[in-house]
């Protein structure tokens, strides 16, 4: 169901993100790929949104633009009233540093640093971070502080990545297929952590997946296809990750 003005006005504060008419065109050699063909979207503070869609639908592109990793070809994106689409590279770096926590499918930890150090890398440059031990405690890895990524399982690595993202107390958590490389059981553990963080700390969270079952845990489900938003649905009841089967 398309989000209506009523929904927008209904009791929610100013959106954290406001995207209007966002387009993104890639040039791959001689071929032009239209990844996004005009996206309008608002994300509100504290909610957990799942971006659902098949591969190639443009959901990652949208997330990257929201996170300041990529720039839109057209349209505007505002974060708390500041326009991202015209920010310089330096400003985007600063934006990512202060406001965004990322979690990726393949964890992207620094292999030469321990779990604790991987989180410290971020807290060392943050303004008001959590203590790295605290963040790792949040994700249930208090006893694995001094292990290197090579010594951790996939699920543990992803949890370190989550701790790293949340330790800086970001305004926004952006997760791109966080369970994509994990088996079902481990995936549930990870999603549990994300859900808990969203609930306990109240960080606005956007989560990408192609797995419709996961959508059950979101406040709103945004279906993305062929470069546009096809529908936005509100979940009446949010499912806990443990309840999910896939």
């Amino acid at each position: 169901m398309r989000e209506t003005d009523a929904d927008r006005a209904g009791g929610m504060a100013e959106p954290v993100f406001r995207a209007r008419g966002v387009t993104k065109v890639y040039e791959m050699g001689e071929v032009k790929v239209h990844a996004l063909r005009g996206v309008d979207l608002d994300l509100f503070s504290g909610e957990l949104v799942v971006l659902l869609g098949p591969s190639g639908s443009g959901k990652s592109t949208l997330l990257n633009i929201l996170g300041g990793l990529d720039t839109a070809t057209g349209g505007t994106v505002e974060y708390l009233g500041r326009e991202l689409t015209r920010a310089t590279d330096r400003e985007l770096t600063e934006y990512r540093r202060r406001h965004v926590g990322f979690v990726f499918q393949f964890y992207n930890l620094i292999p030469s640093l321990t779990a604790l150090e991987n989180v410290s890398v971020v807290t060392d440059i943050a303004a008001q971070p959590m203590r790295p031990e605290e963040a790792l405690g949040l994700v249930g890895l208090a006893d694995r502080l001094n292990h290197f990524p090579a010594q951790l399982s996939g699920g543990e690595q992803q949890r370190v990545a989550i701790a790293r993202a949340v330790a800086k107390r970001p305004s926004v958590m952006l997760c791109d297929e966080p369970t994509g490389a994990l088996d079902a059981a481990t995936g549930i553990v990870v999603l549990d952590v994300l859900e808990r963080i969203n609930r306990e700390i109240g960080t606005t969270t956007a989560l990408i997946t192609h797995n419709a079952d996961i959508a059950g845990m979101a406040d709103r489900v945004v279906r993305v296809g062929s470069g546009v938003i096809q529908s936005v649905e509100r979940n009446e009841r949010k499912k806990a990750p443990r309840e999910m089967r896939w």
């Binding site: 990652s60 770096t93 990512r96 990726f104 030469s112």
Partner: protein, 773 residues
């Protein structure tokens, strides 16, 4: 990959070029020398004597083993060259009045041979002629045996005897102040009082004849005529210097190419290794489809061979070009009729083969890695590296290091061998840079020690014949001379055990301050009342130690033979000598206070008038001025040293650049992902540059002191190999050489760093994050 291949190719070019330069130059010089000696009948045995009648030559001819014999007249002269006021010494040698010399023939560069019947015609040696711009037709004045004579240059020539035209006791040619000339026999004989006689003899030996034997027998025949000891071609000065030069080139040819090619091989191993890692899945697929291990291996071998051949081709081209230039440079020091430069195909082929072989061997490990992977293994992602907290951190430094600092430290520590080899590569570049400068330092030190510490006289005067010590006061009374010290010099043969050595014993007055003798620690040493002081190198060669007694056979006058104790050792860099107290030497010779010459000090302003006065004194054979000798040295050698240093610097810089650039590119390739992750996390470009370049800086900075150590070792090795009785090069490394080497390495590293940084800035964050490790 292109940039890296290019950087490696540059290192190979350096290696191959140094090889080609040294080998071709050596080849060309050897060939040219052999041809010159052969075509101009260079003698095999030489002897100077006081005076013998022409008939005495028959006795020498009769010696079994002696093939051809030619007698000559030789005379020293003081020359008056128009437009040149400083003292000039000349050696005049006779040529047959009719026909060519049987031995030691002349190559006429310009003009014509002397004509019989004219008594003033000379052929001037080319070096001297060029230095003074003399042409056939020019005139110079000469004082021969106290009598003035006007001479006319009719031709300009070269002789195999004086390829290296260096005066007696000198180390470097001084073409402005010493020259060799040829004059008709009759004319020279009458000018020097040698009519019907000879005082110089050359001979060749029959094939298979013993040189030792011949030398002994010639000495036996000629000793009654004041023979100063025959010597074979091996000891002939010009020939010796050439041989030493060849030895040096040979040493260089063995050291530099090995280092450069070694570094190139290491770099290829690293680069191909990385390539194989990056192309794992492609290798897996090819193997899955039936390509054999050998096929895959060959693919990488072909890549290596391609890079090496490009480098080798470049190196051969550069080497041939530089070699030609270097060979031409040699013409300025070594007087050959023409210098034939040739790049033999065998040299080029060897260079190519050796580079390919070393490269393939070096990269063998990487190639084998590609061959050994099973298809399934290959298609899996590379297993993550195992990191550890480094030793340093465990010792407590951990707290001091930021996370980026820890990343740097652990990356370096994870592959200790590779890190060590990278450091070694940079170290060698640093060492080579130092070598170039250290040569200059050493020579500067040698000259300084010799000419400023030891020989402090302004000029050295030598007499035609030993004279009474009273002549000294005559010299001292020349207006402008304010101090003088006498010396006595006698040619001798020293014997100890079965070893003998022909040299001169120099007698100085005790407590002399002008011309001093230094001990092995370069402190002035007083002349002992009795006994001999000997150059340390000579003592070593003769197996002598202070305390031993050496037999001294005097080769002039009454030719007494005496046993004299060796009382101490002398540190010298040029030549080998024996020293005694002047009075003690006189006693040894059984003479009263005789001197061969004097060391004088004179004010700069008065020098000219002193020269003139000396020129006018009939007993004076010649004058050598010290300041000129130093200036001349720097004039001749300075230019070559500079060129050599420049070329070596370029080559070494390319090695430093190559090693750092490759390390940087590989590091970027291996760490691109984590660096992009950091950018995603909000690290600025500057901050991730610090991480990447921090590791490289660590390697570079570690390499520099190791390079200094290696340079020390190489310098010692080279100095040891170049030791000879002609000169010994001290190990001297000035602070400026260290500084220069470090600076060039750092600049090369900075340049590579900048180039890599540009790539770093353009990291595509999105693309990198989508791929698995």
């Amino acid at each position: 990959m292109k940039g890296q291949a290019l950087a490696i190719a540059m290192v190979i070019v350096s290696g191959v070029a140094t090889y080609v330069i040294s080998v071709t130059t050596l080849d060309s010089l050897r060939e040219t020398r052999a041809a010159f000696y052969r075509d101009y009948r260079f003698a095999e045995l030489f002897v100077s004597l006081k005076r013998a009648p022409e008939s005495a030559a028959e006795a020498v001819r009769a010696i079994p083993g002696v093939d051809r014999v030619e007698t000559r007249v030789a005379a020293w002269a003081t020359l008056d060259v128009p437009g040149f006021t400083e003292p000039v010494r000349g050696l005049l040698l006779s040529v047959p009045d009719a026909g060519e010399p049987a031995l030691n023939a002349l190559h006429l560069r310009e003009g014509r041979a002397v004509v019989p019947g004219r008594d003033d015609e000379i052929i001037a040696g080319e070096a001297f002629a060029q230095a003074h711009r003399l042409r056939p037709g020019d005139r110079i004045g000469a004082v021969i045996h106290g009598r003035r004579k006007a001479l006319r240059v009719v031709g300009i020539g070269l002789s195999p005897e004086y390829v290296y035209e260096v005066g007696p006791g000198a180390v470097f040619p001084d073409p402005k102040r010493f020259g060799v000339f040829w004059m008709g026999r009759k004319a020279l004989a009458s000018a020097s009082g040698m009519e019907g006689a000879f005082n110089d003899l050359s001979a060749t030996l029959s094939p298979g004849a013993s040189r030792q034997d011949a030398v002994g027998r010639v000495d036996a025949v000629l000793s009654r005529y004041g023979g100063l000891g025959a010597y074979p071609r091996d000891d002939q000065v010009s020939h010796r210097y050439l041989t030493e030069e060849f030895r040096q080139l040979g040493t260089l040819a063995s050291i530099f190419p090995v280092i450069f090619l070694g570094v190139a091989a290491f770099l290829l191993n690293v680069v191909v290794g990385r390539l194989v890692s990056l192309q794992r899945d492609q290798i897996g697929i090819l193997k899955a489809f039936g390509y054999s291990n050998a096929d895959v291996g060959m693919h990488y071998v072909k890549l290596i061979v391609l890079i090496v051949l490009v480098g080798a081709a470049g190196g051969i081209g550069v080497g041939a070009w530089l070699g030609r230039g270097m060979t031409r440079m040699y013409m300025a020091f070594y007087r050959f009729p023409h210098l034939h430069y040739e790049l033999r195909p065998a040299v080029a082929a060897t260079a190519g083969l050796v580079s390919v072989a070393s490269a393939v061997l070096g990269a063998l490990q990487a190639v084998r890695k590609a061959e050994r992977m099973t298809p399934a293994e290959a298609m899996l992602p590379e297993p993550p590296g195992r990191f550890r907290v480094t030793l340093l951190e465990r010792l407590g430094l951990r707290r001091l290091l930021s996370q980026p600092g820890r990343m740097i430290a652990r990356n370096v520590a994870r592959r200790p061998l590779k890190s060590a080899l990278s450091i070694l590569g940079i170290a060698f570049a640093c060492a080579i840079l130092m070598l170039g400068n250290v040569q200059e330092d050493a020579v500067g030190f040698m000259v300084d020690t010799q000419f400023r510490l030891a020989q402090r006289e302004d000029m050295t005067v030598s007499f035609v014949e030993p004279v009474s010590a009273r002549a000294l006061s005559e010299l001292r009374s020349i207006p402008g001379v304010w101090y003088g010290e006498p010396y006595r010099s006698v040619p001798v043969r020293l014997r100890f055990g079965h070893r003998s050595w022909r040299t001169a014993v120099q007698g100085f007055s005790g407590g002399g301050s002008l011309h001093r003798v230094l001990d092995t620690r370069l402190r002035p040493v007083a002349m002992p009342r009795e006994g001999i002081l000997m150059t340390d190198y000579l003592a070593e060669r003769m197996g002598l130690r202070p305390g031993d007694r050496v037999s001294v056979e005097v080769l002039e006058g009454a030719r007494p033979v005496r046993d004299v104790p060796v009382v101490g050792l002398v540190g010298e860099y040029f030549g080998v000598n024996a020293y005694m107290d002047l009075r003690a030497l006189n006693r040894l010779l059984g003479e009263e206070n005789a001197i061969s010459g004097a060391f004088l000090s004179a004010d700069r302003a008065d020098r000219q008038s002193v020269y003139d006065a000396l020129k006018g004194m009939p007993g004076v054979a010649g004058t050598v001025v010290r300041v000129d000798a130093i200036r001349n040295f720097y004039e001749t050698m300075g230019g070559t040293l500079l060129l050599f240093t420049f070329v070596i610097t370029l080559l070494a810089a390319s090695v430093a650049f190559g090693v750092v650039y490759n390390s940087a590119r590989i590091a970027l390739s291996e760490r691109g992902r984590e660096l992009a992750s950091l950018r995603v996390l909000g690290f600025t470009r500057g901050e991730i540059s610090y991480i990447l370049l921090g590791e490289l800086s660590l390697l570079t900075v570690a390499g520099i002191p190791v390079g200094f150590l290696i340079a020390g070792g190489m310098t010692a090795y080279i100095a040891e190999r170049m030791k000879s009785d002609l000169y010994r090069v001290p190990m001297v490394m000035e602070g400026s050489s260290y500084g220069f080497a470090a600076a060039v390495v750092i600049v090369s590293a900075l340049l590579s760093g900048l180039l890599v940084r540009r790539r770093l800035d353009r990291l595509d964050l999105v693309a990198v994050l989508k791929t698995r490790e």
